[in-house]
Subunit: 74 residues, 2 copies
DNA sequence: TTTTTGTGTATATTTTACTTTACATAATGT
DNA sequence: ACATTATGTAAAGTAAAATATACACAAAAA
């Protein structure tokens, strides 16, 4: 059931941080560029650890990078 | 490269929330009790999605459940 | 004593995150 | 024209998260 309810603004944050490239972010977070691409395009959501590392790479809080679009009350 | 840098206070939160059992939390978060045990005892850290769902189960923010013990500056 | 409830351990399996490698393309620079 | 840089796609493999099932044990309840 269901599409991922987690969305992110990695792309925005990259460009807000001096046009940081995917490769630079990957290096900072300690993953490959493929992983950044997959997460940025929401192909899947990262592990909690990686989410924390990505937030740290931007010097922001985790919830400034990833948001949980919880189910709307009907 | 190392041990998980993510810690949690699920056990504390369970008991702060009316002695919520592992099974009740598992049901709320939509996972099995085994998963709760594994995460609570830090055998591994959850997916980002599950982390969000667990926070929601306690009605707190993700970072009130999980904290990232980032590397200490030497 | 027997049953139920909550917690813990163990192992096998499925699913998903992540890696690695390779190739494609548009944009920039020489 | 050629090289470089940044992004994207795809496929095959490894690693880790999550499930399912089973068994064990202590505490409380009947």
């Amino acid at each position: 059931m269901g599409k991922s309810l987690v969305s992110n603004n990695i792309r925005l944050l990259r460009f807000q941080n001096g046009e940081m490239t995917q490769q630079q972010l990957a290096d900072k977070a300690g993953v490959t560029r493929q992983t950044i691409i997959a997460i940025e395009s929401a192909k899947y959501s990262p592990s909690l650890e990686l989410a924390f590392r990505l937030a740290k790479a931007f010097n922001v809080k985790l919830e400034d990078v990833f948001t949980y679009d919880s189910e709307e009350k009907k």
